[in-house]
């Protein structure tokens, strides 16, 4: 009887572990598009293709709906619910794209190769790649967070950013780690340093998990908010650049694979 109990407990533990894992459910071929950034707005993917200086609107089923050209190395995209925002690495501008019209987002400071942008209510955060900092608009003022360096709170080429309800998450690319800040710019956590990440390029966070793309190692890693690693994604991953969760699906953009992978728990 005792062994039966142990066996049952082991079985239940196994079940609860596997149900918490993301499993591959789809692979969307993007043809010649080399995706860098990914956002979902109005029920469609928007994908930046840095190599070909274009931004592409794609249905959730993978049909390419619109291709917009003549960007200067578009990077990790963001949206505020009505418009898509495109950081242009080559022009040092953030382009706002709304109903086909392009305008430049006004920022009271100069950027050097903006690589990522995110929005949360009235807040805006920008990863300022060559300036090794984050610019954060708290709804009233713009603040600069961090400087070049290796210590906690410092950056070495930040490439992507995500704003949560009370925290800011940064892909600190060539420090090979995730950094977490409060909204006053204080460093809270450094995550991923034990996992030998090689170029942390894309980031996304949910209330339960933080995801980071590990570009050179062809992996995506997920952590809980305590910084404990939960899952390593390797299947089908080929130079990943961005990641997001929408509903019950997780999407990974593969730069070299030229595709979008989807996962579900």
């Amino acid at each position: 009887m005792k062994y039966l109990y142990i066996g049952l407990l082991a079985f239940l533990a196994g079940c609860s572990h596997s149900s918490d894992e993301w499993k591959p459910v789809g692979n969307m071929d993007l043809g010649e598009i080399t995706p860098i950034g990914l956002t979902i707005q109005d029920g469609h993917f928007w994908i930046s293709d840095g190599d070909h200086n274009q931004v592409v609107k794609v249905s959730l089923q993978g049909e390419i709906l619109t291709t917009i050209n003549d960007f200067e190395r578009p990077m990790h995209l963001g949206n505020d619910g009505t418009a898509v925002y495109i950081p242009e690495y080559g022009s040092d501008n953030i382009v706002k794209l709304e109903n086909g019209e392009r305008t430049i987002l006004t920022i009271p400071d100069s950027l050097d190769a903006p690589a990522g942008i995110d929005f949360y209510q009235q807040e805006i955060a920008i990863a300022d790649f060559y300036n090794h900092r984050i610019l954060f608009f708290d709804g009233k003022n713009w603040n600069s967070i961090g400087k070049e360096g290796k210590a906690a709170g410092e950056f070495y080429y930040p490439t992507d950013i995500h704003i949560g309800s009370d925290k800011i998450f940064v892909a600190d690319a060539y420090n090979n780690r995730i950094q977490v800040f409060d909204k006053k710019g204080s460093s809270l956590q450094v995550i991923g340093t034990e996992d030998k990440i090689n170029a942390a390029t894309g980031i996304f966070a949910t209330p339960d998990e933080i995801f980071i793309t590990d570009f050179e190692n062809d992996r995506v890693l997920s952590y809980d908010h305590e910084g404990v690693r939960k899952q390593i994604f390797t299947e089908g991953i080929n130079k990943p650049t961005d990641i997001l969760v929408e509903g019950d699906l997780l999407y990974i953009a593969n730069y070299k694979g030229k595709n979008l992978l989807s996962f579900r728990k």
């Binding site: 080399t34 860098i36 840095g50 190599d51 190395r73 690495y89 080559g90 190769a113 690589a115 790649f129 060559y130 070495y156 080429y157 490439t159 690319a173 060539y174 090689n198 170029a199 390029t201 570009f215 050179e216 130079k239 650049t241 730069y255």
Partner: protein, 209 residues
């Protein structure tokens, strides 16, 4: 009439394919093949850095092929050596450069092609070199290939081992010193801190203690 049409079509065809068609004599056209453009975040930086050069125009990099093209004022007489230094300064590795001068002359260099005379005694060297990415690979291999007597160099990103085929006169110490000078530590030769720090971000490997 048929001959006229053929000549006209030939003229059009020549005009479209001839690289100097429409080229101003005041402008030199440059084509640089760069290795190690695997990481887009750094590779776009090469384009950005070149755009900062005064007078440069039409800078374009094709990521798939590693080909960079640009135009530069002919009166500045930019040389192949200067172009290679600029590419290396940005942390990248030029493997071939060609210049179509405004006056129609062509200059070119290709570091990939290297012949060794038949019957030469060859040896294989294999040793550890620290590095991270495709850009590191290009730099390590190209540094070795520039040495007299080295016929081939292949660095493996996973094992961090470089395999060199070279003539008997080339010693491992010589190759290790050259590679360290380019910014990459080996087990016996260490890169200078200033050179290491000047490497692009994605190349900042864990230093050898």
């Amino acid at each position: 009439m048929k001959n006229i049409i053929i000549v006209f079509i030939a003229f059009l065809f020549t005009g479209i394919t001839n690289p100097i068609y429409g080229q101003s004599k005041d402008v030199d056209q440059f084509t640089v093949q760069v290795e190690g453009l695997g990481c887009p975040f750094c590779a776009y930086g090469l384009e950005k850095k070149f755009k900062e050069l005064k007078g440069i125009k039409k800078v374009k990099i094709e990521m798939e092929t590693g080909m960079m093209n640009f135009e530069y004022p002919a009166k500045k007489a930019l040389t192949i050596v200067q172009v290679e230094k600029q590419v290396e300064k940005a942390g990248y590795t030029p493997v071939a450069v060609s210049i179509q001068r405004g006056d129609g002359t062509v200059e070119a260099v290709d570091h990939k092609t290297k012949a060794v005379a038949d019957g030469t005694d060859m040896q294989t060297l294999e040793f550890f070199v620290a590095g991270n990415c495709g850009m590191c690979q290009a730099r390590i291999e190209n540094t070795a290939m520039k040495m007299d007597g080295v016929q081939s160099a292949v660095w493996d990103k996973d094992s961090k081992l470089v395999t060199i085929k070279a003539t008997a006169g080339v010693t491992q110490e010589m190759v290790e010193q050259a590679i360290a000078k380019s910014g990459h530590d080996t087990k016996t030769a260490k890169a200078e801190d200033t050179v290491y720090k000047a490497l692009p971000g994605c190349c900042h490997y864990e230093r050898v203690q």
